[in-house]
C-alpha cells in the first residue's frame, strides 16, 4: 500500500495544483501535500515496515508481460525517505521565491516527485522506464519555462542527452525482456537471466550509458553544470539532490545484479572513469566563480566517488553509497537553499562580487559553513561516514588497481577542501562591499529548513547506524546477487 500512496499523493496533489488559481494557496497546497508524503515515507521506515505494507502488485499491461509491481526494499525506503524529506525542505527553503504561473510550477514539481517515487519503488522494468520518463518530463518543462537566460539551449541539450540515455536503456530493457523465458519485465525474472558474458558485455553499456548520463559520470556530464546553472534553483535541488540518485539506484538495482559478469569485467573501466571524474571535476570546481557551477562540479566529484564505490562490489562500499545517497541529497539541497537566498537578495551568484557576508548575516554564515563542511566530509557530519565506508570499500575492491583508485579519489578530498574553503572565504569572509553592505540575515522559513538539514547532518554524523540499519539487508542481497565467484570455481 505504502509505495502506491507515495506515488499517488504527489501525483494527485500535482494534478490538482493545475486548477488552483491563487499563488499563495498553491504554495501552501504543495507544502501540505509534501508533508503528507513525508509522513508516509517516515512511517514506511519506522512502524509500517512489514512486507504486507511495503509491496503491491497488480495487472498493468499483461499483454507485454508487464505488471504494476512496486516494492519498498531498504534502498527504496531510504530514497523515498530522501524524496519525502527533500520536497518540504525545498518548498520551505524557497518559500520567498516568486514564480510566474505558480500553479504550473508547483504542479510540475509535485509530478516530478511522483515520478521519482515511482522510479525508487518500481520492480518491473517497463514500469521503471515509465516512471523514469515521468520524473524527467516535468523537469524539462520546469527548466525550459522558469530557467535562466540560456534555458532553451541548455534544456535542449539536457533533453537530448538524457533522452538518448533513456532510449538506450529502453533497448536494453526490451532485449532483456525478450530473453526471459516467460517474456516478463519483472525484476526477479531479470535477476534469473544468467546471460552469457559476451551478451552481458554489450547490454551493460546500454544501461550504463543511461545511468552514467543521469548521474552524471565523466565524460558524459557536460549537460549538468549548464542545467544546474540555468534551472530555477528549486528544480536544481530536485535534479541534484534526488534525480542523480536515479542513476545510482539504477546501477545498484537494475545493472549489477542483472549483469554481474559484465559489471565485474567492466568494473575497472567504470571505476577509472568515475575516479578520473573526481579529480577532473574538482580541478574545474576550483576555477569557478559562479557558486551554482562550483556546487555543480563538486557534485560531479561526489557522485564519481559513489559510482566508483558501487563497482567496488563489497559491503563497505555499498553501504557507504547507500548512506551517502541520502547525505548527498540533504547536504546539496542545503547548499542550494543558501545559494538561492544569496542570488535573490544580491542579484548575483558570482563569488568575486560577494564578500563579508559573515558580518551582516552571521546565522546564514554558520549554516553555510556547517553544510559546506559536511559536504567535504568532516567527521561527525553525515558525509564522513559515507565517504569513510566508500573509501574503505574502494581500497578493498577486487581490482588490481584498487590502491590507485583510493589514492586518486583521495586527492579529491584535498581538492574538495580547497574549493569549499575558498568558496566560504570569498562569500562570507573579508570586507563587505556595496553589494553585501545591506545584507539581511535569514528569515524564519529559511532558518527552519536549514535547521532541519543541520540537525540531520549531525544526527546521522554521530549515529549513522540509524541509516545503515535500513539498508543493511538490501546491500547484502545486492552483493549476493552480484557475486560471481561461483563461476570461477567451476
Amino acid at each position: 500500500m505504502i509505495p502506491v500512496l507515495l506515488i499517488l499523493i504527489p501525483l494527485l496533489a500535482g494534478l490538482a495544483s493545475f486548477f488552483i488559481k491563487n499563488d499563495k494557496t498553491v504554495r501552501s497546497w504543495a507544502l501540505f501535500s509534501s508533508l503528507l508524503t513525508v509522513v508516509v515515507a517516515v512511517l514506511a521506515v519506522t512502524v509500517l515496515k512489514e512486507n504486507k505494507y511495503l509491496a503491491h502488485q497488480c495487472e498493468w499491461i499483461p499483454a507485454l508481460g508487464s505488471s504494476f509491481s512496486v516494492k519498498l526494499d531498504g534502498m527504496g525506503q531510504l530514497l523515498c525517505l530522501l524524496t519525502g524529506i527533500a520536497y518540504p525542505l525545498i518548498f520551505l527553503g524557497t518559500w520567498n521565491s516568486q514564480y510566474k504561473n505558480a500553479k504550473n510550477f508547483f504542479a510540475l514539481m509535485l509530478l516530478s516527485q511522483a515520478g521519482l517515487m515511482g522510479v525508487f519503488v518500481a520492480m518491473d522494468a517497463l514500469l521503471f522506464y515509465f516512471f523514469w520518463e515521468l520524473a524527467l518530463i516535468p523537469v524539462y518543462f520546469l527548466c525550459s519555462q522558469w530557467g535562466g537566460e540560456k534555458r532553451i539551449r541548455v534544456t535542449f541539450k539536457f533533453f537530448i542527452y538524457t533522452f538518448l540515455g533513456s532510449v538506450l536503456m529502453l533497448i536494453g530493457i526490451l532485449y532483456l525482456q525478450s530473453q526471459t523465458p516467460n517474456k516478463s519485465f519483472g525484476i526477479q525474472d531479470f535477476y534469473n537471466l544468467d546471460l552469457p558474458g559476451k551478451t552481458q558485455s554489450w547490454v551493460f553499456w546500454l544501461f550504463f550509458l543511461a545511468f552514467a548520463i543521469k548521474m552524471p559520470i565523466f565524460p558524459f556530464h557536460t549537460w549538468q553544470p549548464d542545467a544546474y546553472e540555468q534551472s530555477p534553483t528549486a528544480t536544481t535541488m530536485v535534479l541534484s539532490g534526488i534525480m542523480v540518485k536515479m542513476g545510482l539506484l539504477g546501477l545498484l538495482r537494475w545493472l549489477l545484479p542483472v549483469l554481474p559478469i559484465a559489471s565485474y569485467s567492466w568494473g575497472d573501466v567504470t571505476m577509472s572513469l568515475a575516479v578520473a571524474g573526481i579529480i577532473y571535476a574538482s580541478l574545474i570546481a576550483i576555477r569557478q566563480d559562479d557558486i551554482k557551477r562550483l556546487v555543480a562540479y563538486s557534485s560531479i566529484a561526489h557522485i564519481g566517488l559513489m559510482c566508483a564505490a558501487i563497482f567496488a562490489e563489497n559491503k563497505s562500499g555499498t553501504q557507504g553509497v547507500m548512506i551517502q545517497m541520502f547525505n548527498h541529497g540533504i547536504n546539496i539541497i542545503g547548499l542550494w537553499i543558501i545559494v538561492e537566498i544569496i542570488e535573490k537578495r544580491f542579484g548575483t551568484r558570482k563569488m568575486s562580487e560577494l564578500g563579508g557576508l559573515a558580518q551582516k548575516a552571521p546565522v546564514m554564515a554558520i549554516f553555510f559553513v556547517i553544510i559546506a563542511l559536511a559536504n567535504i566530509a568532516l567527521p561527525l557530519t553525515n558525509a564522513f561516514v559515507g565517504e569513510f565506508l566508500m573509501f574503505n570499500g574502494l581500497l578493498n575492491a577486487k581490482s588490481q588497481y584498487s590502491l590507485w583508485f583510493t589514492v586518486f579519489a583521495g586527492v579529491g578530498i584535498i581538492l574538495g577542501a580547497v574549493y569549499t574553503l575558498n568558496m566560504i572565504r570569498k562569500i562570507f569572509y573579508g570586507a563587505t562591499n556595496q553589494v553585501t553592505e545591506a545584507a539581511q540575515d535569514l528569515k524564519l522559513n529559511e532558518k527552519l529548513s536549514l535547521g532541519i538539514i543541520v540537525a540531520l547532518i549531525f544526527w546521522i554524523g554521530v549515529y549513522p547506524q540509524a541509516i545503515l540499519n535500513i539498508t543493511d539487508g538490501i546491500s547484502q542481497t545486492i552483493l549476493e546477487q552480484t557475486d560471481i565467484s561461483h563461476l570461477f570455481k567451476k
Binding site: I61, A63, L64, F130, E133, I137, Y140, F141, S144, I152, T155, F156, K157, F159, I160, Y161, F163, F218, H221, T222, Y280, L283, I284, I286, R287, Q288, N314, K315, S316, Q319, G320, A358, Q359, L378, F388, L389, F391, N392, L395, N396, T406, V407, G410, V411, I413, I414, A417, V418, L421, N422, R425, F428, Y429, G430, A431, Y463, P464, Q465, L468, D472
Partner: protein
Amino acid sequence: MQNALQIVYLIPLLPLIGFLINGLGRKHLSKSVISVIGSGVVLASFAISIWVFLQVKGGNTHEAHYFDFISVGDLKIPFAFKIDQLSSLFLLIITGVGFLIHVYSTSYMHEEKTEHFGRYFSYLNLFIFSMLLLVMGANFVIMFIGWEGVGLCSYLLIGYWFKKTEYNKAANKAFIMNRIGDLAFLIAIFWLIQKLGTVTYSEVFTAANLAKLSTTDISVITLLLFVGATGKSAQIPLYTWLPDAMAGPTPVSALIHAATMVTAGIYMIARSNLLYSLAPLTMDIVAYVGLATALFAATIALKQNDIKKVLAYSTVSQLGFMFLALGCGAYTAAVFHVMTHAFFKALMFLGSGSVIHAMGGEQDIRNMGGLSKKLKITFITFLVGCIAIAGIPPFSGFFSKDAILLSAFAKNPVLYGIALFTALLTAFYMFRLLFITFTGKFRGTHEQEHHLHESPAPMTIPLIILAVLSIIGGFVGIPEVFMHGGDKLGEFLSPVITNHGEGHVSHSTEYILMGLSTGLVLIMIIFAWFKFKNYQRTEESGLGKVLENKWYVDELYDKVIVNPLHKFGGFLNSIFENKVVDGIVNGVGRAVSYSSRQFRLLQSGQVGNYILLMVGSIVLIFVLQFFLKR
C-alpha cells in the same frame, strides 16, 4: 562514591556543552558569563582529569564502550574511550594548560565585541572537546574524528578575525595542508582494516595481530601515519602552515599551535609505539625528518623579526626534536618533551601576547626594546621560558631535551652532533628574542612608550603558574644517573610504552654529554647577550636574507605545486571542458542533425514538441501493444 573512570565521558562532554552554550548564547550572554562558562567547563574537565589520573596512577585503566559508531559487515568501529597512562597524561596537559589559556583569554580578548567574544570562547571549547576526543579515543577512527576536529578549530581560530583576507588565506592553508596529512592517515586506517579488520588499539597492538602484518604492511602503515603526523605536527614537508597560523589570536597560538594540537602527531606515534618498533625503516625516516625539521626551522628562527614567528619556528623546531626522539625509539622522551614544551612554549606565547598587548598590537621586535622595566612579570616569566627551552639545569627543558639528545647519541653520534648544534641555535635565537625585546633602548613610537604597561592579573597569573611549571616540570623525569628511580614519568608510562633501542650509554659518557651541552648553551647565551643587548636595526643580506625569507619554501611550493594545479584547472575549465568534452558531444549532435535533414520540419527546437512527440509515441506503443496482443 563513583569511580572516576565511569564518568570519563564528562571530560569531553563538558567543553562540548560550553561550546553550545557560548556559541548559541553569544548574543544574549554577557562577557563575564561567557568567561565563567568557557573557563569553568575546562576547569571541571581538569578536575575530573586529575581524579582520573590518580585512578590510573593507582593501576586502574579503563576502556569505556558507548555505542557502535559504524557497524558494516565484519567491520565494527565502536564509539569508545581508552583511559590509560598515556591518555590520562595528555588529559592533564590539555585541560590544565587549556584552562590557564582560557583564563588568560578572558582578559586578552576583552576588547572584542561580546558576540565575537562568545564566538571565540565557543571555538576554544570546541577545540578542547576535539583534542580530548583525539587522545581519549580507543581506536584510530575516534582519534581521526578528534584529529580533523582540532584541524577545524584551528582553521576557525586562525581565521577568527575574518575581515582580513590574509588571515583567512592562512586559515585555508592550515586546513588544506592538514588535509594532505589526513588523507595519508585515512589510508593507513583502511590498510589496517584490510589486514586486521579492526582499528581498536587493544586489538591491533596484540602480538597475534602484529604478527599477521607483513614487513611491507607495517612499513606502509607506519609511514602513512607519519605523513599524517607531519601535517598536524608541522614537519617537513607540510610545516609551512604553522608559521602562517600565527594570524590567530595569541592565546590560540599558545594553546593550539604550541602546547596541544601540534603534539597530536607525537601522541599518535607514541600510541602506536609497538607498531613503530617493528618498522626500522620508518623509524629512521622519522628520526631524519624530525632532525632535519628541527635544524631547518631553527635556522629560519634566527632571522625572524615578528615575535610570534620566532616562537612559531621554534615550535616547529622543538616538534622536530620530539620526532627525533620517536625515531630513536625513545617514545617516553618525546612524550616528556611534549609536556615540558607545553609549559614553556605556552608560557612564552602568552608572554608574547602580554608584550603585544602592551605594545598596542605591535609584533615586530625591531620596534621594541627595553621592555623589562615596564613589564617585570612578563620579562621574568619569559626569561624562565627561555632558560627552560635552552636546556639549562634544573629547568624542565633540560631534562626532556637531555633525554632526547641521549637517545640520539645512542642511535648515532652524528645525529647527536646535529641535534646538539640545533639546540645551540635554539638557545641563541631564543635569547636573541629575549634581549631584543626586553633589553636595550625602546625603539617604538612615543605613543607606544606612553602606553606600555604590565598586563592585568588574569594574564600574569597564568604566566606565573606556567613559569613555575617550566622550572619544576622536569623533575618527573630525572635521569637515572642523578637519582635512582628518578624517572617517574618513564615508570608511569611503561605499561603502554615500550622504548626501543635505548640505553647503552655509560654513566660517565652521559655526564660528559650533559656537561658539554650545558656549557655550550651557556656560551651561546653569553654570545647572544653581547650581540643583542643593544640591538640596532640592520638590513639583512646574503644568507641572512634567505633565512629571513624562510628559505623561500612558500614561493617554491607555489611555483611547483599550487600554480601548475591552478593553471591546469584553468585549462580544463576554459579549454578542455568546452572544446574537447563538450565539443565532441556537440559535434555528435550536429552530425546527427546534419544527417537527418529530412526531419527538419520536426526539428523546431522547441523542447515542448519533442516531449509531446515522445510521450505520444510511448502512449501509442502501449495502446497498440495492448490491442494487438489481446
